[in-house]
């Protein structure tokens, strides 16, 4: 079971809220399915993101995938170490040091799920 301290989107982003700031990343499941990552494009600090809207791109050897924001608000920090070395993102750090954005948020997506609901989603996705 994935940690229940945070919520998840069906599109595999996770969102951990602390003191009005949401830390956003993608799940270990997404990382394992993308595999062979080569590029990460994140918004600038100070820019606005919207819940449910595209905030960036992650590219693997196979494909480019959009990243969707779980919250609306202002980007206050991006994980530059991850941008510089996206190959280091793996299933063990995806929910931890593999975070992407910190957003001072005003609104959460209505589609966010707890860990149990997300796992149900994954079951349906796996063949």
């Amino acid at each position: 079971m994935r940690p229940n301290d945070r919520k998840y989107l069906k599109s595999h982003e996770w969102c951990l809220v602390e003191d009005g700031v949401a830390t956003i990343g993608i799940s270990d499941y997404a990382v394992s399915h993308l595999s062979d990552l080569v590029f990460l494009d994140l918004p600038e600090v100070g820019s606005q993101v919207s819940a449910g809207a595209n905030f960036g791109e992650i590219e693997s050897v196979k494909a480019v995938s959009d990243l969707y924001s779980p919250v609306s608000g202002e980007v206050v920090e991006t994980n530059e170490a991850l941008v510089d070395d996206i190959e280091s993102l793996n299933i063990d750090n995806a929910l931890d040091t593999g975070w992407m954005l910190k957003v001072k948020f005003t609104e959460e997506s209505a589609d966010l799920m707890d860990a149990a609901a997300y796992e149900e989603c994954l079951k349906n996705e796996a063949d």
């Binding site: 595999s35 062979d36 080569v38 590029f39 791109e57 590219e59 050897v61 494909a63 480019v64």
Partner: protein, 363 residues
């Protein structure tokens, strides 16, 4: 979806399976870059059960092939193999194939692309009328896999009395491997040394396992289709549906070596007309990139504000440590060192024209 004899083997080895030309095939086992690099360093096994396999027999097999395909079948020695294309009357490519001439000198064997096999067989049936020839699709009864990589010969020699060192590049023979009768050719689609192996479908799983066993000390592993695509692109080998298709001639693609104007093949007149008019207006070139963005099939290729082509194949190249791609460019932009751009969504990335192939192994 069609399955090869090796499906359960792939699942056992934790492959990710995908639909490829109507076949359920292993696309990757661990990671694409790592698998591709592994083949260059050690050796890999590739399931090729999806490819079409056609036996051509009869007194006029050679005459039939002279009409069907672009290479000169009369000049293929017994036991040798040639690359060729099947064209339509307009010189446009319907498929690229390998033509095997049997040791008995009379019979031939063709390996064709999975995605084109039905069309190819139709063309073959039409072309066969009037010739004393039998064309038999053996894709179902005969299985096929490849071993590729520098350790290939050492591995296979452990399980056969066939003297593999005596099989030259693009030559084939038959004999027993691991107790099963096979046909074996020194061919492949990776730019490495290696063999392609043909045997009765019922023996394929046992043979594949026997290869894996024999290769234990040489790091032999099964490799997916995605890494195979990277390897063939690095080696500058065209893939039907990418570099070549129904809109390209062998002249555009620089595949003249597979075309011999010595016989009356379908499409010859059209190619001669293009040559008489000064040759094709575009050329197949390689591109490398500075950025980490990967050029992919269909992305527009730009020179200034002009769209001058599109990406045909693209990959992350573990061997060259850059991203690589192919495209057709007009001659004035096709010179090595020319800078162009490719468009990825709303962004532009620069790319440099380089010689094909990207990679050539040291022999």
């Amino acid at each position: 979806m069609k399955e090869t004899a090796l499906k359960s083997t792939h699942v056992h080895h934790r492959a990710r399976m995908v639909d490829f030309a109507g076949w359920e095939m292993p696309v990757q086992y661990t990671g694409i870059r790592e698998e591709a690099a592994h083949v260059r360093k050690h050796a890999g096994l590739f399931d090729l059960g999806h490819m079409g396999r056609v036996r051509v027999k009869g007194a006029q097999a050679e005459d039939f092939l002279q009409k069907l395909q672009t290479n000169d079948a009369a000049k293929i020695p017994a036991g040798a193999i040639r690359y060729a294309m099947i064209l339509d009357e307009n010189g446009l490519t319907q498929d690229d194939i390998l033509v095997y001439r049997h040791q008995n000198s009379v019979d031939f064997f063709l390996v064709i692309n999975a995605g084109n096999s039905e069309r190819d067989l139709g063309i073959m049936r039409d072309t066969a009328s009037g010739f004393d020839v039998s064309v038999v699709d053996q894709t179902e009864e005969l299985g096929m896999f490849a071993i590729q990589g520098p350790a290939s010969q050492d591995i296979v020699q452990k399980i056969t009395d066939i003297d593999l060192s005596a099989i030259g590049y693009y030559r084939w023979t038959e004999g027993d491997v691991a107790g099963h009768h096979v046909e074996i050719s020194r061919t492949g689609y990776t730019g490495e040394d290696g063999f392609e192996v043909y045997a009765e479908q019922a023996k394929i799983v046992e043979l594949f396992d026997a290869f894996l066993n024999a290769g234990k000390d040489h790091e032999l592993r099964p490799i997916g289709l995605a890494a195979r695509d990277t390897l063939r692109l690095e080696a500058g080998m065209p893939l039907y549906g990418h570099e070549i298709d129904e809109t390209t001639t062998p002249l555009d693609a620089g595949l003249d070596f597979g075309v011999k104007f010595t016989h009356d093949f379908t499409g010859r007149a059209a190619l001669e007309k293009i040559q008489a008019a000064g040759g094709p207006k575009r050329r197949l070139v390689g591109l490398t990139t500075e950025s980490r963005r990967v050029p992919r099939q269909g992305y527009p290729v730009m020179s200034g504000d002009n769209e001058v082509g599109c990406i045909l194949s693209g990959a992350v190249s573990p061997t060259l440590d850059t991203n690589i791609a192919t495209t057709y460019l007009p001659h004035d932009l096709a010179e090595v060192g020319t800078t162009v751009e490719f468009a990825i969504r709303d962004k532009r990335e620069s790319a440099t024209v380089v010689h094909l192939p990207f990679y050539k192994r040291q022999r």
